[in-house]
Amino acid sequence: MLKVSDIAEKVGLDIGVKGELNKDITGCYISDLLSDVMANSKDGELWITLQTHPNIVAVAVIKGLSGIIITNGRFPEPDTVKKAESENITIFTTHKTTFEIAGLLYNMLK
């Protein structure tokens, strides 16, 4: 199974916060609506979003997500970085769009 440590290079992502890299990636969920991610994402999934505020880390912890990818050249807020470091959640950043990242990941995860 694909691990969090595998995808930075394969998909061309920058590492914003290095969390638990040894986690298995079970799939991917895409949404900028945190309520939707709370309701519909599944354990071990990678989450692609435009949101950058600290609550994304809380959602990832509660839902047991394997990591977060922030797209479109956005960066996590300082409080988000602090929280992700203390909770051991990996955050990737990229200048690519959500569509491009999803396309690349889809071929690797399907």
Binding site: M38, V57, I62
Partner: protein
């Protein structure tokens, strides 16, 4: 499971404190996992607790999250000082929300929280007095698994 009689605890929640949102629920999640509660029950309790915690942070001035863990269930009670819920039936409808725009811009307030609590809880009860606050009682059975 490492529970003899019961284990309880309480967290204070501050309305508007988005930075620390989820701290109480993730601590409860860790506690349950440490006690050897089944993964499914840990997951459901954490999701329900977090949705309820977010509601306090979004809507209320302050509140508390109290939990009791026994060998059979986790009971999570959230009590807040806030506006209360005018129409509980309407609030339970997916998509209905009274959250302000700036909260929606953060990705919250989609009217999915209470339905998500109901989906994950084995028992779920809401009491509210408008202008005073709301009390949510969430029960997760941990007998199975």
């Amino acid at each position: 499971m490492k529970i003899k009689d019961s284990i309880e605890g309480c967290f204070q929640l501050m309305g508007g404190d988005f930075t620390n949102a989820g701290a109480a629920s993730s601590e409860l999640k860790s506690t349950l996992a440490r006690l050897g509660v089944s993964q499914d029950a840990v997951r459901r309790a954490a999701i329900a607790a977090f949705e309820a915690e977010m509601n306090v942070i979004i809507h209320a001035v302050a509140g508390t999250m109290h939990y009791v863990i026994t060998t059979e269930e986790v009971k999570i009670t959230l009590t807040d000082m806030g506006p209360g819920i005018e129409d509980i039936e309407l609030a339970m409808q997916e998509g209905y929300s009274t959250a302000p725009d700036w909260v929606r811009e953060m990705g919250w307030g989609a009217g999915m929280g209470l339905p998500n609590i109901k989906k994950n809880a084995d028992k779920f009860k809401i009491d509210s007095v408008v202008g005073e606050g709301a009390t949510l009682e969430i029960t997760i059975c941990i007998k199975k698994g």
